[in-house]
Symmetry: D2
């Protein structure tokens, strides 16, 4: 598992809590999964002790989107039987992702981000290979016991109390996404992400994600100038403008803030968001240039469909 940020760390901790041995690859939180490291580790694992390669597609805490197909290719080159498991919490329905086409074995998603619903639904896509592995696995399984769910789902039921209200919401969310067209949804988020990065650059600040190939289209993490506290800035923005931005988590706490631009989001919401940050930066006495919102607006106006 790769340490691309706070949520990768949480997944690691959960796996460890469940008694799993985890080979956790430390990173600088500014880059995604490195397929070469995956290949090397798998090649070295002659005894096939590694059961699964786990990656977070879009790290919610850093705004880094790992490329999954190269990871799959690395695994294939190594000829290793490990499963590929991917967390799509903050990318599902916001950033292009292809469970089957990319050869992923287990994909985990949720209701409360790109699907525009309240939290409460976890969504799993499972390959035949993963299903077989789960049947022979000796690990404790409870929430992750797919069998009960698969059996009941076939006849239209849930083995436990279903979140019926969210299932109706999911139906409507999917209808909305199909009405817009998934490619258009992805393009919309790409465009808002680019506009956000132009604002960040014009402010004279830096995006946390260091590799343009890995920029996230659903959120952008922004680094504070040395010596300025991100949490104090967000506190000011919350109090003055009633806008809640994402704080830095884990090892970047206080050093970054995060701008979400996913789900039901449009040009003017982004304009309002960036305006609030720009005014907040002023109020917090942070050295920056006021040209950010204007730069984003210019890009948005230039790229209208």
């Amino acid at each position: 598992m790769f340490e691309t940020g706070h949520f990768a760390t949480l997944w690691r901790n959960m796996a460890v809590a469940l008694g799993l041995e985890v080979d956790f690859v430390p990173t600088d939180w500014r880059h995604g999964v490195d397929p070469e490291v995956v290949e090397q580790k798998l090649v070295e694992d002659k005894g096939h002790r590694i059961k699964s390669v786990m990656a977070v597609h879009n790290e919610t805490s850093t705004g880094v989107t790992s490329k999954i197909p190269p990871v799959r290719a690395a695994m294939d080159r190594a000829g290793h039987p490990a499963l590929l498991m991917v967390d799509t919490i903050s990318s599902l329905a916001s950033i292009d992702y292809r469970h089957q086409e990319w050869g992923v074995d287990v994909t985990v998603g949720c209701s409360q981000k790109g699907l525009m619903l309240p939290p409460g639904l976890g969504l799993n896509a499972i390959s035949e290979k993963a299903l077989q592995a789960s049947k022979s696995a000796k690990l404790p399984q409870s929430f992750w016991d797919w069998e009960a769910m698969l059996t009941a789902n076939k006849i239209g039921f849930f083995p436990y109390t279903p979140a019926t209200n969210l299932l109706y919401g999911l139906q409507e969310a999917i209808h909305m996404l199909e009405e817009e067209g998934l490619p258009n949804v992805f393009a919309r988020h790409d465009r808002h992400a680019e506009a956000t990065r132009r604002a960040v650059q014009a402010w004279g600040l830096e995006v946390l994600c260091a590799d343009p190939q890995e920029y996230s289209s659903s959120l952008t993490a922004v680094m504070m100038p040395e010596g300025y506290d991100a949490d104090a800035l967000l506190d000011t923005i919350l109090k003055k403008f009633d806008m809640c931005l994402g704080i830095g988590l884990g090892k970047v706490k206080g050093k970054i803030f995060r701008i979400g631009h996913l789900g039901h989001f449009n040009d003017l919401m982004l304009a309002g968001t960036l305006s609030g940050i720009e005014m907040g930066l002023s109020l917090a006495g942070i050295p920056f240039s006021k040209a950010g919102t204007a730069a984003a607006l210019e890009y948005l106006a230039d790229t209208l469909g």
Copy 2:
């Protein structure tokens, strides 16, 4: 009655339709009620044929807010018994207004603007003098027959089917307004109106309302440069940014557009609104300076409580 805009005209038409004789004072739609004209007309009306002076407090179609106390003072100076009737459709709960203190006889309001509710409730405040007048009036009365409403209201009922859902909404709206405090609500709208006017000025455009004493705090009407169609601009903004601004009505159709900043509205909503207009002006090829949003943001940041 004074022609301060489209809605004053509608009221005139309704009055005429009900068989009333109306002395309608034409204006340029850029100014409010002139108390001197009121005084003069009443002084000349030796026979007291004039039954009522009717004014629109805040003209929704022009963004002109007439000063009501000077009108009352003019009526008092003339010593004339006419009633004073005021339309507060787009000012109630957004701009300071005092039915009793200002000596108004009939005030008409609604649910769907400053009270932040769907349309469906009409609100009337009635002086004792107006109530007496309605009892002796010979005019056809149906919706305006206050007696049935007053009798039923006393015991907690309505004479007809009440919009119960809106009454619950009204209770919550009043709770929200009291929680913020009406003076704070008014100050919030004053500040957003000033920020809007600064944006208009920075764009190089002109506010329709010609007298700064009569600027509306709930909406701002903006004049288009000669030769440019406001409706085409709004159509572009609606299609590109999913934002619906107010068109010009009546004799200013196509010549102005209107920016609403009333009800449940905050700094970042205004920032999004102005950003959408600024991008729309660009797209529509209208000659303007892009400095509007920035000017508004600067004012907003400088005047935070």
Copy 3:
């Protein structure tokens, strides 16, 4: 206009308030419109002073449904040019009604009964003949000025502020009605009305509507035994069971209560309603037989589709 109950009286009062001369035919509130009286009055009106025959299709205050086609036939036999105007407030979308097929000139409906919405929408169907008449009419017109509405509606607009939220609700209500099928909706209400009458009969009470041909399928008014106050009964039911039934209005105040069974209503809601009344009758010490709910349930079980 026929006095079939309280709402017919209200319409009369409104017409009088608007300065109209009304020939109001008094009735016992237990029968609907008598076509023979209509024919006779029109035949006698050689000078065509009568401009309109007005009827309430389903009297909400009495549960009497007037037959409209015989009224039309009577008018045709008399060869009189008067318009036929019908109030369908509590029948629209609950009881079969055919504006065009029955030759009605003006039909008035609303959102808050059979259309299952909050109050706030008035719906008018207007014949070409009525439209022409309105153009030459000399009456004061304001809310009833169809021209402004017709012109704006053609291009998808309203001349005044529309109740947009209710229009969305109307779209969904119509979708629900079409999904069930209007004939099924009408049959559902017919069946619930018959079950209700069987309960009333089994209780040993009497239905206000005296003519089985005129029984209402959307509500049933029940006569109290001599010497017992209906309002006291309803007060007990409200306090003990949180159920609000219709009180007697106008000249039947205190003498009847009304059971609504229209709109979104099913067998078990009716069972709950009748159970509440049955327990209420017990609590209020009214002489009756407890066999009502059981009789209704038996009929419902016997007539399931």
Copy 4:
């Protein structure tokens, strides 16, 4: 752990899946936890291998409510250090329950029953002793890792994404419960449960719960006459009356059906519910007496506050 029904079995399975050794006491599903068995097992466990006594307070699948204080007393008599853990899924806020007063160590509840909310919140009450035990426990912990939650909750946060919408709902649910008063809420459910049992008895059917001391006030499971399928009955009731009752689960599948009377529920909802069952029993050709609804109504009318 005691097998009081299907949900006790599910808990057993989850515990087993997590690698725990479980001593599961089989029962006939018609009785609750037997404190004598608890005492005996603990006395015999000289080596203190038993870490926890687990009970379901109100078995949702059988309508049996176990008495918790006698279990606690049995544990105290045995002088055994095991924790007492109780599932209150279908009793919390419906049936009197006292975590602290009764000396329970871990109580588990949920949002979707007595708290009248959609599913999505799990609620845990934890004794100091349980907290200490969790710190030294060697079991895999992830969802059950209270530490992260306790730390974050202290400063008003959640360690993961909170179901904010449900927290607002919880606030309102608690407000509603306090407005009615918990003793009144419990008495309301007691009364509806008794009325339901009177209906069952009058129908000539039998309640599954065999001990009147253990009757559930939140739901009643009813046994079908020998040779009749409960699921077919419920299918008829669902199709004909749009009412969904609880099916028999696990080893009573097809043999019982369950009537819920918890949460936001009143006399007339119960009357509708029982009426639907009574008509369903008729339609399904099940031998029974039609006196059930009437018996319940009589009891309800006799016991009004």
